[in-house]
Symmetry: C2
Subunit: 340 residues, 2 copies
DNA sequence: CCAGACTCTGCAATCGATTGCAGAAATAAT
DNA sequence: ATTATTTCTGCAATCGATTGCAGAGTCTGG
């Protein structure tokens, strides 16, 4: 019951007095084996409690039917939506999905990549960590022609498919909206500039201010890691400025929340005294008081697109065709924090 | 560059005029090979861009150093905390973690289990889906002596390690607190009764009411799937009751939120008119207005414990020892929604 | 009745790494 | 100098499934 426990196609073959190859083909629904034979094999396999050993099959076929996903954190709503989108498409196409989170740690991201490669996943979908500035750990895949799709936090100088939202447009529209709501002196709490998404959001922000004929005050722009604590520090610094802001565009909802809570404690009213817009449409932003205006990103759809592109690449042999860059639209969601 | 791309220990061996077995041993830090030889092999391997093929190794060793995690949803704060705890311990012990979400769908849960088994994960950590009433799909593992650890939503009649929080105590203390805050007619929005956690929370609720000498009114107890929409329906039904409740114990924060939002729309004040306590301490419950009193669960620690138990079992051969049931304490977090 | 076409099944090599065992080489002991 | 011991290496089988190729068996048409 211990050596026995692993039942192989050979055991089935022996019991039925046929060849293992026939068993293998029958179990894979290869139409070349006789209907009758297959039915018999299937029944015997079931009776014997046969369970295929994917590793053996994968080793032989050099395919794992698995796609690896590397992302910073799974407990952000945006990211878990993307995962759901990926899984949706993957399962429909017979692929399994393995998820690992880097916690925005470069070393861990590297380890995960190596692990995925050693496990010979058929392709990977990646969103980079905040610390990531080099892409050696991913070059491995492109060298060996393993398809890679980036989403959201992408590496500009790596050639691969990319799925992004129009962060520039998002930043622009958020700021434009703040101006339309009466903002004159608008601050920005942004993320690390090595990540394109935060550069783009800031650029959209600056351009919108520029277009409105307002001055861009660099002392009103702060970049950090966008945690809850970072947000609190940032809002404190902004409010310590001799010329206080009357509106803030935050590069994520977490820092928007930090700002709201800090201002509430100080007795400063949002939106009456200060207007605020966040980014990402985290679930909490809808239920906070005041509810947070924000920029929505189609996470689920992005995941679907990423998986579709990846699977297409996996299936087509001549992979190094053209690389697509899909830019998905953002949505300005106006709630209470930005309208007087 | 295409056939070449897969470099094996045999390629290294050939190049160095030694045997593949020596290469294998060197790369695994087997002290039996000469220091000098090993250093040389390591260098050559690096130069040739060798990448181990885990599948081949796993096939041979019959171990994958991978643990599978099955849970309903990853975008609940509690679950993603558990995942982080699992990963923490797993990585420290050289295990990889594969996560799959069942979306509370029994069929998908079954597929995931089979997939994990076919991939020969070394052990699994499971929290059951809402629909799950049979455990055939998991019996596979116990039969083949693959360690299984349940957490949170556990199967009572499967013998395995279990990590749970004291849901009974949580329900009791939440209710006790509502009574202490002045609740006299206390309702309960609970989850599906096939899951032990929801039975326990309800039992704690009932007992607390009983101990306080209050009557238990079954029309004040509603069970559903605890989604946002379910919560809204439930609160509507409760408020349609001729004798309205003056306090509600919700089995999760999501339905507590539904209740708060619905009541706010109806102009009913929380906590002044109705007291509310939730369960799980989702991040949003702290930032909603009013902030939601709730029961905290030590998710990260539960994940750590689960991984520790699992890994111990994986490492020890004689697995069918005793099964532990770890009951972790809950924490009553008092916020605004339950104190007048 | 036979050549040719068609169906199905089996043989054996293969994927890439691991490991028990045997034996070569170097060293120590007698 | 010979034997015993220690230290490394190499041979070859193995893990479990897949698949190109060969060939057995059946069927069809002439």
């Amino acid at each position: 019951m211990d050596k026995q426990s692993e039942i192989t196609i050979h055991d089935i073959a022996r019991k039925m007095n046929i060849a293992a190859s026939t068993v293998s083909r029958a179990l894979n629904n290869n139409p070349i084996v006789n209907q009758e034979t297959r039915r018999l094999i299937e029944r015997t396999a079931r009776e014997m409690g046969y369970r295929p050993n994917t590793m053996a099959a994968n080793l032989r076929t050099r395919r794992t039917n698995t796609i690896g996903v590397i992302l910073p954190l799974i407990n952000r709503y945006f990211f878990s939506s993307v995962i759901s989108g990926i899984e949706d498409i993957a399962y429909k196409n017979g692929f399994a999905v393995t998820i690992s989170q880097s916690n925005d740690n470069f070393e861990k991201e590297t380890k995960i990549a190596q692990n995925f490669y050693s496990n010979r996943v058929d392709g990977i979908i990646v969103s980079l960590g905040m610390e990531t500035k080099s892409f050696e750990h991913l070059r491995l895949f492109s060298e060996k022609k393993v398809p890679v799709v980036f989403f959201d936090r992408v590496a500009d100088d790596v050639s691969a498919h990319k799925i992004v939202v129009d962060d520039y447009q998002g930043g622009y529209r958020a700021t434009e909206h703040l101006i339309a709501s009466g903002g004159k002196r608008i601050a920005h709490i942004g993320g690390p500039l090595n990540l394109n998404i935060y550069r783009d959001r800031r650029d959209g922000f600056k351009t919108a201010i520029h277009h409105a004929g307002l001055p861009v005050d660099e002392s009103m722009i702060i970049h950090n890691s966008l945690t809850r604590a970072d947000g609190t520090n940032a809002i404190k610094r902004l409010m310590a400025n001799p010329k206080k802001p009357d509106a803030i565009f935050c590069a994520n909802d977490t820092t928007a929340l930090s700002a709201i809570i800090h201002l509430r404690e100080k007795g400063i009213k949002v939106p009456n005294d200060i207007l605020i817009v966040g980014f990402s449409n985290e679930p909490f932003s809808e239920v906070v008081t005041p509810s947070i205006s924000t920029i929505g990103q189609p996470g689920f759809e992005m995941g679907q697109k990423a998986a579709e592109l990846l699977i297409t690449d996996i299936k087509s042999k001549n992979a190094d065709d053209l690389f697509q860059k899909l830019v998905m639209p953002t949505e300005l969601i106006i709630r209470d924090s930005s309208v007087r």
